[in-house]
Amino acid sequence: MARILVIDDSRDTLEMLRVILHERGHHDVTLSTNGKEGLEKAVSEHPDLAIIDVMMPEMTGYEVVGRIRANARIADLPIIILTARGQPVDKIAAMEAGADLHMSKPVDVETLLEQVNVLLGANKKQEGAALFPILSLRGGVGTTTLAVNLALLMQQIKPTVLVDLSPNSGHCAAHLGLKVRTHWGQFKSGTTVAELLQEHTSGLKLLPAPLVPVQDEGLSHQESKALLDKLRRTTQFIVVDMPPTLTQTAQLFLEEAQRIVLVSGDDLPSIQTTRQTAQLLKPYQDRLLLVLNTITPGPHPPAEMLQRALNMPIEVRLAHEAQQIKAIHTGNPLVLGIPTSALTANLQQLTRKLIA
């Protein structure tokens, strides 16, 4: 059962679609008689799909679709344009406006339900939250900075949890200006994840690392799996600041990941480590995404040369940001403190690639 928002100025059409989608399709249906109210409901109720009419007074369906696509929180909402305007040019206009599908009125009930299910299915590629580990086996290349800022950007789109998986006193909490009160080392099978999460003012939830380094690995394989299962039911995106060693828990997170962000600096030791890590991660290579982080100011080798040395494509190259040290010291991450910086733009690009 999904939550479907229907926006149409005709009350007869709304009632008809409510009956079709609720009685026949067994979906929860929210109705709206105009574009403005529909947009508000899309933001507040975060439906799984929207069906939108075109010809509505005050705000047309095309405008509604455009505003949904421009709002990062609901930009990925699947949309069906359902309109009496059924000309070939109208289909093109609907797709150009950002709709996923154009359907003409009058609509065949079975076809509508089938297309709704197709779009809902396409939007649910996996059960639970999408998992994005951020990894480098060489320390000091900015993995934590990247994880924290990416998680904040993802939180602007969907509820996100940042997991600091370091067994040796992680630093995500410090980056976010939070004091560690709970951590994943306290997780046992009966524990609820909500008890361990700490909330940042942005709404991002953090599962901190233990302040005191843990002995062995901290969590057994079964405990790690239970933790991940619970996290996946709690949120929609999980960003993981991975430890610089491939612990049992780290390997589980890699296996379950949607995309793995492999971070490298542009110095020779970083490149060597990254190249070897990529070899190690060959089983996951179709999910691997290489990010080159510019840690130091000054001239840097050209991307083509680094790409040849790394033997894999660089998906995003992050710009150097002189204010980064200050951002860490003040607990105010860059994407919030300097949202217009080149680094923030690079991170937004990376976010889009990850959730595409």
Binding site: D12, T13, R85, V107
Partner: protein
């Protein structure tokens, strides 16, 4: 099972005039669009829930009104999605429409139209184009291309074309 979005009396149609496209419904009240358009006793047509766009930019709604009065003499053509919505009562049930379909090409301001005439016997262009008795012409299975943007087209099961707006008429067989 089809889910009709309009009440039984409300029929959706597209109207074209002076480079504008008006999408809306008209209250048929037991009459088809053909009955209303061909009716010489009144010169206008009321279209409800009317949305107006430039013919070249369908996503741009220039204006919308709950009700619009459309002057039939200024209409270039109207497109109906279903044949029965466009045909007159006598065309549906009488002997007016013969079995012969004749391909037709014609030009009106902004558009070139391709479709079929369904008339009994031979087609006489002089009779066909005479606006003395009837001001409109019914074409079936119509595609209307914008003359200077032929990649943009509008399609309908039937079109009612204002004879006074036709400049070229090409008939496949006479």
């Amino acid at each position: 099972m089809e889910a009709h979005h309009q009440q039984a009396q409300q029929v959706m149609a597209e109207f074209f005039s002076h480079g504008c496209r008006l999408s809306g419904t008209y209250d048929a009240r037991q009459k088809s669009l053909g009955d209303v358009i061909y009716d010489t006793t009144n010169s206008y047509l009321i279209v409800e829930s009317a949305y107006i766009s430039p013919i070249e930019r369908p996503a741009e709604i220039l204006a919308n009104y709950p009700s619009v009065t459309l002057i039939k003499a200024e209409l270039t053509f109207a497109l109906a999605m279903h044949e029965n919505d466009a045909l007159r009562r006598d065309q549906k049930y009488g002997s007016y429409l013969g079995p012969k379909l004749t391909p037709v090409f014609l030009t009106v301001p902004f558009f070139t139209l391709n479709g079929y005439l369904r008339l009994p016997g031979r087609v006489d262009p002089r009779v066909l184009l005479s606006s003395q008795t009837e001001s409109f012409l019914t074409l079936l299975d119509v595609t209307a291309h914008i003359t200077n943007r032929p990649e943009i087209n509008y399609q309908g099961a039937a079109a009612l074309i204002n004879k006074t707006k036709i400049s070229f008429l090409g008939i496949d067989t006479i």
